[in-house]
């Protein structure tokens, strides 16, 4: 069996690589990864990536934040140590609710924002001390790198390389 090969195509323009991804995928090849210095609009669709569910996560985290806040108010202000403060009614959570709106909002945002960011970092494997996975350091500057995994079949490798050349790759390497 042939050894698996990875082909890298380096492009110099975001529109060119976007078209290249579309062309190569339309020829039935899988584009495994694209490294770019900035987000390219439409690339996720062109590569067939699923839509990110981070926004849904954030909504759920926000709901958790609001619930935690309400539970905290009920426990502290209504149940554990009720106090008459300026004659504000505090027999139930509902009666005292208007005074709790601001902090409920803040806690919702706090949970929604921070837990989403933590989720993002974990899902992307980003943490202090982690190193870049990009094989070419120019991809944070002005170059765009396409990565395609092949089974190592000579014919396939050549076909992909030709495709890369036609679509405007500046450098083509294999590993």
């Amino acid at each position: 069996m042939n050894k698996e090969k990875v082909i890298y195509g380096l492009y110099g323009d975001d529109d060119v690589i976007l078209d290249a991804v579309k062309t190569i995928r339309s020829k039935g090849h899988q584009v495994n990864e694209v490294y770019s210095p900035f987000p390219i609009h439409g690339l996720d669709n062109a590569m067939g990536l699923k839509y990110s569910r981070l926004a849904i996560c954030s909504f759920i985290y926000g709901c958790i934040g609001a619930s935690c806040a309400l539970l905290m108010f009920w426990y502290i202000m209504i149940y554990d140590w009720p106090m008459n403060i300026g004659g504000k009614p505090n027999f139930t959570l509902n009666e005292n609710m208007p005074a709790f709106i601001p902090v409920t909002f803040e806690m919702t945002v706090f949970f929604g924002a921070h837990l989403m960011v933590i989720t993002f970092l974990i899902r992307c494997g980003l943490y202090p001390g982690s190193t870049s996975k990009s094989p070419d350091s120019r991809t944070t500057d002005d170059k765009f790198l396409m990565e395609i995994h092949t089974s190592g079949d000579e014919k396939e490798v050549k076909k992909i390389k030709d495709l890369m050349k036609i679509t405007g790759a500046e450098e083509i390497n294999e590993k």
Partner: protein, 455 residues
């Protein structure tokens, strides 16, 4: 096809390529500082140390070293607190609200104004802490289980809402800022030659590699964070204003406070952004990115929010008269004609009259004029808080306890110290952090770059 009006000016001038942007933004980090930077840094550091000395003196001796008295229990401390929090509003407004409105011109200025926001909130946070007098029990503001009963914090109090608002605002802005910084730190990391710099920026960049999936998630996250930060930024100064509005002091007890404070905060925040960026763009050669057009846009926002603030002042006066409450009427009459008339008219001149000059296109595109005006606005907004706090308190319901406030050297020292501390942080930032969000800026090069637009 996207249609663009021909009057739209390029946002990036000079014939820049993607690589040029990387070069320009990495340059201040990779070169060493000049004499100007060092002298400004030393001056700021001295002011900061002086301020820290005054803070230690306050904590060691007690709040008595300030100019406060029985009648005036809040003065410079809370004035400075509200002033700094207000300044800390422009950054998140630029990066979050302008992101939601798809304003591309935010991209050259969002990083620095967010940095300014965070550094300003740090200064703001110092004041309530030292105003407690007993800093070592400062953690009592949080609802922590304790051995006193448990004795809890009071969630009916706007002062506690403030604790939550400021800490949420600070932490969320910090995270928003940092997440935007990760791809830019990655650029600096990949360019670094010195091993120490490489190591430091590797840690700071969290191993960012810019894969398609990561960018997709990053964009979703930025959008959601902007959506969360927008109401947050509006809530923070609303809650700060409730510290006053929920009390029964004439001059404070007004329902107009939340929107009025928010407009004032944006007003002063943009003024401080102008003050800093006009200097920074020159010192670190960012004139191609922070153009006259950017300055004009910010001046327009200053003009609009300044006008809102002006209307709020006049509304306050009208309502004081219209309410028929004589204490309320007296509070406002006393502001304008009492012993603190100079503070009131300084505020009126700086905040209401001066921004109206921005109606002239020549003036709002003039750098020197903009700089002077931004200083005026900063001063005016400080006086606004001074007027609201001190003149409302100094003549209360009982004429026998009327008094005046005069700051001691400690009051002044702490204020100057926070300006120094703020400048120290900003100067350090401007030499070690990418001062423009280059990854995002690169996305608009083709649509708003000078050389691409001409084609």
């Amino acid at each position: 096809m996207k249609h663009e009006a021909s009057i739209r000016e390029p946002l990036i001038i000079g014939n820049k390529s993607l690589h040029d942007i990387s070069e320009d933004i990495a340059k201040p980090i990779e070169t060493s500082a000049n004499k100007w930077w060092w002298s400004l840094f030393l001056l700021s550091a001295l002011a900061m140390l002086w301020g820290f000395g005054c803070i230690f003196y306050t904590i060691g001796t007690g709040i008595g070293v300030w100019g406060l008295n029985n009648t005036i229990g809040w003065a410079w401390d809370i004035t400075n607190f509200v002033w700094w929090v207000g300044i800390g509003h422009a950054g998140t407004l630029i990066s979050a609200v302008l992101l939601l409105f798809r304003q591309k011109w935010r991209l050259s200025i969002n990083r620095s104004s967010e940095a300014m926001t965070i550094f300003a909130v740090v200064q703001a946070g110092l004041f309530p802490l030292i105003h407690m007098g007993r800093l070592w029990v400062g953690y009592w503001v949080f609802p922590l289980p304790n051995q006193y009963g448990s004795l809890w914090v009071n969630f009916n109090s706007p002062l506690l809402w403030d604790v939550f608002a400021i800490s949420t605002y600070f932490s969320v802005s910090l995270v928003f800022w940092y997440m935007g910084l990760i791809p830019d730190f990655a650029l600096i990391r990949d360019r670094a030659i010195k091993p120490l710099a490489k190591k430091v920026y590797t840690i700071l960049s969290f191993g960012w590699s810019g894969t398609a999936k990561h960018w997709q998630r990053h964009e979703v996250m930025s959008l959601v964070l902007a959506g969360l930060a927008t109401p947050l930024v509006l809530s923070v100064h609303s809650i700060v204003s409730m510290d006053f509005a929920t009390s029964v002091i004439p001059g404070w007890h007004t329902t107009i406070f939340p929107p009025y404070f928010v407009a004032g905060a944006i007003f002063s925040g943009f003024a401080m952004v102008q003050t800093l960026l006009l200097v920074m763009r020159k010192v670190v050669n960012m004139e191609s990115y922070i153009t006259i057009q950017h300055i004009e846009m910010m001046n327009i926002i200053i003009m609009v929010t300044g006008s809102i603030v002006g209307i709020a002042y006049i509304t306050e006066l009208f309502i004081a008269w219209y309410s028929g409450v004589e204490y309320e009427q007296y509070a406002f009459l006393n502001r304008a004609t009492g012993p603190y008339w100079w503070a009131y008219w300084a505020m009126m001149t700086c905040n209401v009259i001066s921004p109206q000059l921005m109606w002239f296109k020549k003036l709002r595109r003039n750098i020197v004029f903009t700089f002077i005006l931004s200083i005026f606005v900063n001063i005016g907004m400080w006086f606004e808080r001074f007027v609201i706090i001190v003149t409302s308190l100094h003549r209360d319901f009982l004429p026998s306890s009327w008094s005046m406030f005069s700051p001691t050297f400690v009051d002044i020292g702490i204020f100057i110290g926070t300006i120094g501390f703020f400048m120290v942080l900003f100067l350090l930032y401007s030499r070690t952090f990418p001062v423009i969000a280059q990854a995002e800026l690169k996305t608009i090069l083709k649509s708003s770059g000078d050389n691409y637009k001409k084609k």
